[in-house]
C-alpha cells in the first residue's frame, strides 16, 4: 500500500454565527463536519461535490488558511507516530491523553505554531480558481513568482532570478514575460504564472482549488495537461477540488465525493464512474452531459436544495433528497465503510440499491 502524505482525522471546521444586540454566538455553519481522509504520496485525489459542500474549506484548512475547529491533520508523518498519538488520545488515562496532546503540538498541522509552520509552507502550496484574483495586480510577474522564495528567505539575488526563469520555462512561458504585470496576460497565461509560483519552493503537495473553472474550455485542456506533466516530472501530490466531474476523471487516480461537510463516497476513479454506490454520486454522475443527442439516459434529478449547513438533517445528511431513504436513514448517521477493495461509501442501503 502506498504511503500517506496527508492523513486527516475527524476534521471539523465550523464558522460561528453571531446574532442579537450582544453578538452572542448563536449557531455554527458546519462547513466541514468530521472528515477522515488519507491522501497518498504521488496521487491526484479529486474532491467533488456541489457548491457549499465544504470541499474548498477542507482544502484551505490543510493549508492553514483557515484554522480548524477540531480534528487533526498529519502531514508527512510516519504511520507509527500517527497511530501512537491516536491511541494515546483515545486512552482512558488522562495522563496519556495529555501526553498525546503534547505530541500533537509538534505533529499536527492544525496546531503547529507559526514558527514551526513556516518550514511546511515550503512543501504545501495552492493554485486558486481565478488567476485574475490570485495575482497581486501591482507586482511584476517576477516578484509574484519569487514571493515564496523571498518571504521564506530561501534564496537571494541572482539565484532568485535564475529560479524564476526556470519556472517560467517549466510552465510554458518565456523570459520576456518576467517584467510584466498580470493584467497584460490572458487567463490561461495568468494561471500558468500562478502554477509557477506554486512550484517555486519545490513543494510536495499542491491544493488545486478548481484551477480550470475560470478558464476558457480550449485553455482548460492545456492547463490540465500541464498539471499532469508537472505531477509526473516533480512527483507531486494533488488534491484537486472541483465540481467538474469530467476534469476529475481526466486527471485523478481517486475520487472523494463530499456532501454537506461529510464524505459520501471514496474510491478509485474508474470504480466511481463505473459503479457508483452512493445515491448522491449516482445523481452527480447522471448530470454529466453526454455529447450525443441519441443517447437515452436515465437522469436523476435531485429535488430541493442543499440543506442549511447550520442545521443539517438528522441521520444521513442526504436523506431529504434521497429516493431510497428509509427510517434508518433519518435516525442513524451512516459511517464510511469499505464496500470492496479501496472503495468506501457512507450509506446504509448501498447493497440493496446497487
Amino acid at each position: 500500500m502506498a504511503e500517506n502524505l496527508i492523513d486527516i482525522r475527524e476534521l471539523k471546521k465550523y464558522y460561528p454565527v453571531h446574532g442579537g444586540i450582544f453578538k452572542r454566538h448563536i449557531a455554527d455553519i458546519k462547513a466541514v463536519d468530521g472528515v477522515d481522509l488519507k491522501i497518498e504520496k504521488g496521487e491526484c485525489l479529486g474532491l467533488v461535490g456541489e457548491s457549499g459542500c465544504g470541499k474548498t474549506t477542507l482544502g484551505k484548512t490543510i493549508l492553514r488558511l483557515h484554522g480548524a475547529t477540531s480534528g487533526r491533520i498529519y502531514f508527512g508523518q510516519s504511520e507509527d507516530i500517527i497511530e501512537r498519538i491516536e491511541s494515546l488520545l483515545k486512552s482512558e488515562n488522562p495522563e496519556e491523553r495529555q501526553e498525546g496532546e503534547k505530541l500533537l503540538r509538534q505533529h499536527d498541522l492544525t496546531r503547529l505554531s507559526r514558527k514551526n509552520l513556516l518550514p511546511l509552507r515550503k512543501k504545501i502550496q495552492i493554485v486558486f480558481q481565478d488567476p485574475s484574483n490570485s495575482l497581486n495586480p501591482r507586482m511584476l510577474v517576477k516578484a509574484i513568482i519569487a514571493e515564496p522564495l523571498i518571504a521564506q528567505r530561501l534564496m537571494s539575488g541572482k539565484d532568485i532570478e535564475k529560479r524564476v526563469l526556470e519556472l517560467l520555462y517549466t510552465v510554458g512561458l518565456a523570459k520576456e514575460h518576467m517584467m510584466r504585470y498580470p493584467h497584460e496576460f490572458s487567463g490561461g497565461q495568468r494561471q500558468r504564472i500562478a502554477i509557477a509560483r506554486a512550484l517555486a519552493t519545490y513543494p510536495e503537495f499542491i491544493l488545486m482549488d478548481e484551477p480550470t473553472s475560470a478558464l476558457d474550455v480550449s485553455v482548460q485542456a492545456q492547463i490540465l495537461n500541464l498539471l499532469k506533466k508537472l505531477q509526473d516530472e516533480f512527483k507531486l501530490t494533488y488534491l484537486f477540488v472541483t465540481h467538474h466531474l469530467l476534469v476529475v476523471k481526466h486527471i485523478s487516480n481517486r475520487i472523494a465525493v463530499m456532501y454537506l461537510g461529510k464524505m459520501a463516497e471514496l474510491g478509485p476513479t474508474a470504480e466511481i464512474f463505473d459503479k457508483p454506490l452512493h445515491p448522491y454520486t449516482k445523481a452527480l454522475l447522471s448530470a454529466i452531459p453526454i455529447p450525443d443527442p441519441k443517447t437515452k439516459m436515465e437522469k436523476i434529478i435531485l429535488s430541493g436544495d442543499v440543506p442549511n449547513p447550520i442545521n443539517p438533517p438528522s441521520g444521513c445528511r442526504f436523506h431529504p433528497r434521497c429516493k431510497y431513504a428509509k427510517d434508518i436513514c433519518r435516525e442513524v448517521e451512516p459511517k464510511l465503510e469499505v464496500a470492496e477493495g479501496r472503495h468506501q461509501v457512507a450509506c446504509h442501503r448501498w447493497k440493496e440499491i446497487s
Binding site: 484551505k60 490570485s134 497581486n136 493584467h183
Partner: protein, 313 residues
C-alpha cells in the same frame, strides 16, 4: 494621432524601459489629459514656488519672518500703492507680505497635519482591518466618538484647552483628522484581506507585516492619498476659520485666516463708499479659495488616474 498598436508595444519593450517607469508614464499621461488637472497643478506649483522663494519675494524685516511688518498705527487700511502693492490691513500691515509668507505657513500647516494624519490613519486602519476582532472594535469605537461631536465645536474646545496659538491649532487638527483616514484604510483592507492574492501570500509564508506592506497597502493606499490631497486645502481652510475666530495665530501674523480676521471691521466701508476697503477681504479670501481649489482639482485628477475601478486591467 495614430492608434497604439501591439507593434508599438513591442517597440516600447525593445527600448527596455523598466515596466514600473512605463506604468508611471502611462499614469502621468492620463493625469495630464484633463485640462482641469493642469489648472490645479499650475495653481499648486505656483503656490509652492511662492512658498519656496518667500524670503526673496518679500524680504523679512522682523526677527520672526512670519510677523508682517507694519508702518504706523493708523487704523484704517490703505489702498494699493507703490509702497504696498496690495494695500494694507488695519494698523498698516502689508497685505502682499502677509500673502507671501502666509503661503509658506499654509503649506506647513497643510502638509504637516495631513502627513501625520496619514501615518496614524494607515497604521491604525491596517491594524483594525487586518487583525479584526477586539482590536478592530476598540479602534473603530474611538473613531466613532470623534464623529459624534460636531467638528468645529470640538476643534474650538481643543484649541482653547491646548492654550491657543498656531501650535495648538496644528495639534488639534492632527487629533481630529486621523479618524477619516483610519476608516477608509480599514474598509479597503477588509475588502482586500480575503482576496486570493493575499491568501496566496499567506500560503507562501509571508509575515503579517510583509502582507500588509507588500500586498495590501499598495492596492489600497490610493484612496487615502486622494483624500489626503483634497484635505490639504480643507485643513488650511479650517485653520483659517480657527484663526478668524481668534483662536489661532496672534494679530499681525502672516496667516491668511488671521488676515481675514483682521479685516472683519472693514468689510463694509464708510457710508459714501461702501466698497472702499475691498482689498482687505477680497485678496486674502481669494488666495484661500484658490489654494483649496488647487488641491481639490489635484485630488480629483488623482482619483481619475489611480482609482482601480477606472484603471485598465
Amino acid at each position: 494621432m495614430a492608434l497604439h498598436t501591439a507593434e508599438d508595444t513591442i517597440k516600447e519593450r525593445n527600448v527596455a524601459i523598466h515596466p514600473r517607469l512605463q506604468e508611471f508614464t502611462f499614469s502621468a499621461k492620463r493625469f495630464l489629459k484633463n485640462p482641469l488637472t493642469i489648472i490645479g497643478l499650475v495653481i499648486i506649483l505656483s503656490f509652492a514656488m511662492i512658498a519656496l522663494f518667500a524670503p526673496l519675494i518679500a524680504p523679512p524685516q522682523n526677527a520672526d519672518p512670519y510677523r508682517i511688518p507694519h508702518t504706523g498705527w493708523k487704523m484704517a487700511p490703505s489702498p494699493p500703492s507703490a509702497e504696498h502693492p496690495l494695500g494694507t490691513l488695519e494698523q498698516q500691515y502689508d497685505i502682499f507680505y502677509g500673502i507671501i509668507w502666509g503661503t509658506r505657513l499654509a503649506f506647513k500647516i497643510g502638509v504637516v497635519v495631513v502627513a501625520v494624519n496619514l501615518i496614524i490613519g494607515i497604521i491604525l486602519g491596517s491594524v483594525a482591518g487586518y487583525f479584526g476582532g477586539i482590536t478592530d472594535e476598540i479602534i473603530m469605537r474611538i473613531t466613532d466618538m470623534f464623529y459624534a461631536i460636531p467638528f468645529l465645536v470640538m476643534a474650538m474646545a481643543l484649541v482653547v484647552a491646548l492654550g491657543r496659538g498656531l501650535k495648538a491649532v496644528i495639534i488639534t487638527l492632527i487629533i481630529l483628522g486621523w479618524p477619516t483616514y483610519t476608516r477608509v484604510i480599514r474598509g479597503e483592507i477588509l475588502v482586500l484581506r480575503d482576496r486570493d492574492f493575499v491568501l496566496a501570500a499567506r500560503a507562501s509564508g509571508a509575515s503579517h507585516l510583509r502582507i500588509i506592506f507588500k500586498h495590501i497597502l499598495p492596492n489600497s493606499i490610493y484612496s487615502v492619498l486622494i483624500i489626503a490631497s483634497m484635505n490639504v486645502g480643507t485643513i488650511v481652510l479650517t485653520a483659517a476659520a480657527l484663526s478668524f475666530l481668534g483662536l489661532g495665530s496672534e494679530t499681525g501674523y502672516a496667516d491668511w485666516g488671521q488676515m481675514v480676521s483682521m479685516s472683519r471691521n472693514w468689510i463694509v466701508g464708510p457710508a459714501d463708499n461702501r466698497l472702499a476697503f475691498w482689498y482687505v477681504v477680497i485678496i486674502p479670501g481669494l488666495v484661500i479659495a484658490l489654494f483649496v481649489l488647487g488641491w481639490n482639482l489635484l485630488g480629483d485628477a488623482a482619483r481619475d488616474v489611480f482609482d482601480p475601478k477606472m484603471r485598465r486591467r
